[in-house]
Each structure stands twice: as structure tokens, then as C-alpha cells.
């Protein structure tokens, strides 16, 4: 393989790395709401890197987005927002990668090999764009539409089971020995998956159908970086009931 030439001089690389080290000490704030899987992603990433941060709970159900949120995310007006040295970063997967790159001295979140990184990013996008929407559709719709959506979610989980086998290479997590990018991407949804399984009387991450993911789900939930930010099924179930009544009582906010 040809040696890849870096066009960055050693001096400029030093400046970039020094700047990164300085940035890693600047204040960190997360704007979020506790039930959101996307917020959970940002918090897990920060926990993995042992970053201290201030957390601001947004009242989204009450429709009271803070001025800071609206100013920090004018494009989507959504959580999570990571504020680092007062600069906002939005979109959960962008945030996770940012955290991985800034706090580079902590445990790695993305794999080091470019191909493995591409695979991890691919499956994370698949989860968000293709798989999780089916799960939500199954939950929010009824009858035949719900049944079909859950069947498609099941098929998706079989793909993720296969992806797990390939990525984990016999170890506990997608990331190997420790939780990584894909663990965060899928694991952040676990609380809602359990609530939906309970409410819709379905088994998504099923011991028989997806045995590896079933075991992984337990290991992930117990991880020290995860357990304090992944809500309990009971607490989230109560929230889900409230959310549904709000949605039925008024036009859902876009």
C-alpha cells in the first residue's frame, strides 16, 4: 500500500493538538430532556470520557423551549445540544463523534480503523433512518399498520444481530471490550424499546430471535457510563402514557 502523505507540517499538527488539549478543559453544557434517546447518546459519550458537564432539562412536553435552546439550535430547535466553550453542536451522532475527537485521550468511542469506522457509522444511520422509525410506527399506529411495522422492525433487528456478530468479534459490545459508537447508537433506544414491548405486547429484542442482542442489552444497561442516564422502564412508561395523552389532547407539535 502506498504511504499516505500528510500535507500537514509537524508544526501545524502540534498547534492543532495543543488547541485540542486546551479545548478539552473548556466548560461543557448539555441541553436535553431525560426521555430522549438522542440526549442519552450525548450523555453516555461524555460519561465514557469522564467529562464533567452541566445538564439543563428542557420542558419540551410543556412546550417551553428555553431561549438558549432556540438560540443554540435555530435550524431544528431540538435537543440534544452540546455547548462547549459556549459553541453549540447539534445532532446526536455529530455530538458523539465530536466528543470522541475532542477528548481523544479518553477511551475511544469510534474504532480506529477507517473501514470499521465506516461500518459503525453505516449501522448508526441505518438505526436512525430505517429501523427506529418502524419501531415508533408500530407503537403509534394500530391494527394491521402496527403489525406490519413491528414485522419490519423485527427484520431490521436480525440485520443488527448480524452486525453485532461481525463488529463485536466475539466480545461483549459492538465496540469490542468496551462500549463504543454503535453500542451508544442502539443502546440509547433500549429504555423506549422496553416500554414499547410492554405497551404493545411485543418482543423486539428477543432471547430466541436475537440472542446476542438480548445479552448485549443487559450488559449495556449495566455499564457504568450508561446506568445513570438510561431511564428505568417504569419511569419512562409513565412518561409515555403522559405523552400519548398530550398527543391525543392536542395537535402533535412538529
Amino acid at each position: 500500500m502506498d504511504a499516505a502523505k500528510s500535507f500537514q507540517s509537524p508544526e501545524s499538527l502540534f498547534v492543532v493538538h495543543s488547541e485540542s488539549a486546551r479545548m478539552a478543559t473548556e466548560t461543557v453544557k448539555v441541553l436535553g430532556c431525560w426521555p430522549s434517546p438522542y440526549v442519552i447518546r450525548a450523555r453516555i459519550a461524555l460519561n465514557i470520557k469522564s467529562v464533567e458537564y452541566e445538564y439543563q432539562e428542557e420542558d419540551l412536553l410543556g412546550g417551553n423551549k428555553s431561549d438558549l435552546l432556540l438560540k443554540s439550535n435555530p435550524v431544528y430547535k431540538k435537543v440534544p445540544v452540546l455547548l462547549h466553550a459556549d459553541r453549540p453542536i447539534c445532532e446526536s451522532l455529530v455530538i458523539v463523534q465530536y466528543v470522541d475527537e475532542v477528548w481523544a485521550s479518553g477511551p475511544a468511542i469510534l474504532p480506529s480503523d477507517p473501514y470499521d469506522r465506516a461500518i459503525a457509522r453505516f449501522w448508526a444511520i441505518y438505526m436512525d433512518d430505517k429501523w427506529y422509525p418502524r419501531v415508533k410506527e408500530g407503537f403509534f399506529s394500530e391494527g394491521e399498520a402496527s403489525k406490519i411495522a413491528f414485522e419490519e422492525a423485527d427484520k431490521g433487528l436480525l440485520l443488527l444481530e448480524e452486525a453485532f456478530t461481525k463488529c463485536s468479534k466475539g466480545q461483549k459490545f459492538f465496540g469490542g471490550e468496551r462500549i463504543g459508537y454503535l453500542d451508544i447508537a442502539l443502546g440509547s433506544h433500549l429504555a423506549w424499546i422496553r416500554v414499547i414491548e410492554k405497551a404493545s405486547n411485543v418482543s423486539l429484542i428477543d432471547e430466541a430471535k436475537t440472542p446476542n442482542l438480548y445479552k448485549w442489552a443487559h450488559d449495556f444497561s449495566a455499564d457504568v457510563a450508561v446506568k445513570d442516564v438510561l431511564p428505568s422502564t417504569d419511569k419512562l412508561y409513565e412518561f409515555a402514557k403522559l405523552l400519548i395523552s398530550v398527543m391525543k389532547g392536542s395537535t402533535p407539535e412538529k
Binding site: 445532532e91 463523534q97 465530536y98 477507517p114 453505516f122 444511520i125 441505518y126
Partner: protein, 233 residues
């Protein structure tokens, strides 16, 4: 070991074009496999079983899918002519805006293209709102990447080619030079770049293709109008 690079693409796919541009910027040799999406090759289905789509880059037998991910892979594997910034914050911004382009800008422009009347008026307002963000991004810069074309320019590259084609077909100005001077200038600079220029698909073929894609939406509208007329008489 000799590098083996293959790109599965179609002649017109805007997502494939991102990868074509990136490979050209990096000066990489590769084999092109042109796909007919009505008749996908066995290789494509093998390399991208999940989505069965182009582009797919195959590097030494290993497939990478999703155009923006392919750009990152290319950038991480071949370090010459960097596409993404080194700084994590600037990198995060590039990723954020690239996603915004695909999730919001493109669909909003498409809505203008396929709608008519009141619906089109509303679509135009939404698209203009999205384009304003891009206009802001270009302040003080020639390209989204700064002085040279980078990841975000390639992510938005479809605009420099496709917007004028869609404008011609619907006879509407979407990116008005008076309202979006920086974006208009960027579209010219990007299109005029010698690397980019070489890779554009033939314009007349593109016009033909998109006119055909618009037909079913016009037909639907016409049928609705006929129905409304017959109901009112």
C-alpha cells in the same frame, strides 16, 4: 499490495457524483461500474444488501456504502488534499450541515419541483428558508470548505448542477442572485472548478430525465383539476 478501487454508480446519481469528485480531488485511480437501477447487478446487491443502492465504493474487496460516509472513508484513508477540517468543531459543523442538506434542503427543493399553485408557493418559502442558512455559511468564504473545495462543497455539489436544471423545467428562479448572492457565486465557482467540471453528467440528458420524473405529478394535478371542474358543473 496493489490498491483495488471500484465505484458502483449510475450516470446521473448526485450521491455517486460526490464520490467521483472526491476520488478525482485525491487523484485516485479506480474502476467504474455503471448500474442500471431497473436491473441491478448481482455485485451491487452483494455489496449493498441492506439498501441495494449506489454509490458503493469497494476498496480491496471491502464495500463502503452511503455517499457521505464514503467521503469520510476516502478522507481518512488517503491523506492528500484533505476534505474535512482537522479541527473537531469545524468537522462537526461540516457533518451537521451536510446532513441538513440531505434531510432538509434537497427535499424542500424537490417539493418545489413537483408541486404547483398554492402548494408550490409554500414549498418555495420553505426552500428559501433553508437556503438562507447556506447563504449565511458562505459569509467571508469562497467555498464552504474555505479557500478550496471540501467535504461540505461536495455534499452540496448537487445544487450547483441540479438547481439550474430544475429551474429551467419549472420556469422558476429558486436561487435568485439578488437574494442569494454568495450561494449564486459559490454555484459558479464550484461548477467552474476544473476537477468538478469534468465530472458533470450531460445536461441535456439530465433535463430529459427530470422532465420525465415530473410528469406523473403534473398528470396527478391535471386529473384533480378535471375532477374538480366536473364536480362544480
Amino acid at each position: 499490495m496493489a490498491e483495488e478501487l471500484k465505484l458502483f454508480r449510475t450516470w446521473s446519481s448526485r450521491y455517486s457524483l460526490r464520490v467521483v469528485n472526491a476520488l478525482k480531488i485525491k487523484g485516485l485511480e479506480y474502476e467504474t461500474i455503471l448500474e442500471d437501477l431497473q436491473n441491478k447487478s448481482a455485485s451491487l446487491l452483494e455489496y449493498n444488501p441492506t439498501h441495494k443502492k449506489v454509490p458503493v465504493l469497494v476498496h480491496n474487496g471491502k464495500p463502503i456504502c452511503e455517499s457521505l460516509l464514503i467521503l469520510e472513508y476516502i478522507d481518512e484513508t488517503w491523506k492528500q488534499h484533505p476534505l474535512l477540517p482537522q479541527d473537531p468543531y469545524l468537522k462537526a459543523m461540516a457533518r451537521f450541515w451536510a446532513k441538513f442538506g440531505d434531510d432538509k434542503v434537497l427535499p424542500s427543493i424537490w417539493s418545489v419541483f413537483i408541486s404547483q399553485g398554492q402548494e408550490q408557493e409554500e414549498a418555495i418559502a420553505l426552500a428559501a428558508g433553508n437556503l438562507k442558512f447556506l447563504e449565511e455559511l458562505l459569509k467571508g468564504k469562497k467555498f464552504f470548505g474555505g479557500e478550496t473545495i471540501g467535504y461540505l462543497d461536495l455534499a452540496f455539489g448537487w445544487m450547483a448542477n441540479l438547481i439550474s436544471i430544475l429551474e429551467e423545467i419549472v420556469d422558476l428562479k429558486l436561487v435568485d442572485r439578488k437574494i442569494f448572492p454568495l450561494l449564486s457565486e459559490w454555484m459558479n465557482s464550484f461548477s467552474d472548478d476544473p476537477v468538478i467540471k469534468e465530472c458533470w453528467p450531460p445536461r441535456n440528458k439530465m433535463v430529459e430525465k427530470f422532465k420525465a420524473m415530473r410528469e406523473p405529478y403534473l398528470k396527478e394535478l391535471h386529473e384533480t383539476e378535471v375532477m374538480q371542474f366536473s364536480l362544480s358543473s
